[in-house]
């Protein structure tokens, strides 16, 4: 037996617990559905397999884990991979046959430096030194004007200046 939409609506409301006065035909349908509800109790249930339960539980705990724990969980496999790579590199280094010993690179010498440094860099260095010395001399002159005989100091400074140039020449390498 089937009912009109209006009667079905009244039965639905009654089955949902609302106070509705049903006719005999409506009551018959309501009882049929209530009986089916009872007969089918638990019939559709299926216990999840262990695998499904464990997976759901795992996802649950992952979602509830605080952020640092999540970071650690992410970092752990990354650290594992990094450790494995390092181990492989170390093993390769230790296990591979040693390379033939090559001649060590020549040690640093002044000669090598002079020959390796471009000439203009060398000239710049000299100019810097001269400038530094001239600054020093200027300072000495200023001081001499205030403390001693001007002429004598001029002579002394002239000698020092000459000495500076001669000293620089003496230290120049022979191989330029």
């Amino acid at each position: 037996m089937e009912l009109s939409d209006k009667k079905y609506r009244r039965v639905a409301r009654w089955l949902d617990g609302e106070p509705v006065e049903l006719t005999d035909s409506e009551r018959s349908i309501a009882e049929e559905i209530s009986r089916a509800d009872l007969d089918l109790t638990g019939a559709f249930e299926v216990p999840p397999p262990d695998r499904a339960r464990e997976r759901a539980s795992r996802h649950l705990r992952a979602a509830l884990a605080p952020v640092p724990a999540r970071f650690i969980r992410f970092a752990r496999p990354v650290a594992g991979v990094a450790a494995a790579v390092l181990l492989a590199l170390a093993a390769g280094y230790l296990l591979l046959p040693p390379r033939p010993v090559s001649q060590p690179a020549p040690t640093f010498t002044d000669t090598r430096y002079v020959t390796d440094v471009p000439p203009h860099d060398d000239a710049n260095l000299d100019l810097d030194l001269i400038s530094f010395e001239l600054d020093g001399l200027t300072a000495d002159i200023v001081q001499a004007e205030t403390t001693g005989t001007f002429e004598a100091e001029i002579d002394s400074l002239q000698r020092r200046l000459d000495g500076f140039w001669l000293e620089e020449v003496e230290h120049w390498p022979d191989e330029i």
């Binding site: 089937e2 009912l3 009109s4 939409d5 209006k6 009667k7 079905y8 609506r9 039965v11 639905a12 409301r13 089955l15 949902d16 617990g17 349908i29 049929e32 559905i33 089916a36 509800d37 089918l40 109790t41 019939a43 559709f44 249930e45 299926v46 216990p47 999840p48 397999p49 695998r51 499904a52 339960r53 997976r55 759901a56 539980s57 996802h59 649950l60 705990r61 979602a63 509830l64």
Partner: protein, 193 residues
Amino acid sequence: MDQQQLREIIASAKSGDAEGYEALLEAYGPRLYGYFLRATRSHHDAEDLLSELMLRLVRRMKSYDERGRFDQWLFRIAANMVRDRIRRIKARPSVASLTSQADQERSLSEKLAGSAERVEAGLVAAETSDRLQQALDRLDETTRQMVLLRHLGQMSFKDLAKTFQCPLGTALAKVHRGLRTLREYMGEHYGIE
């Protein structure tokens, strides 16, 4: 589980306690898995959906209004997930559907069965031995969902009408016809009245 126990478990879950969620999984697992399995007819999909539901539960638990019924709230989420999954299965291109017009006109339940067979033939073969599942297979998709949600989710007809966006009378009419079809099939094939 009585209502008091359920309230305590829900409160525990709402406070972020994993034990609370585990208890919910324990209590509702068979009903949820049964719903997912019978709606999708695939253990693989049912397992996916169960895991996904637990994640959604964690995200949405705070929004649960304790004045409402938890079963109905939970199964409404589950019903939405099944609906999305079925849409995806329908949208999934299949070799068979490109080869014949007849195949494109198959019912959703047949398409679902086809997909499930391709994915997990062994499990579905075992599942089809379930006489109740065979009876459910005879129902159209909406009616099957309504019957399952009525019995597993304890949904009222008002909730069913709201979930499936149909008039209240239509929801009851579908469930009534569905239950009658199930009873007839079970009686016809297995002598169960």
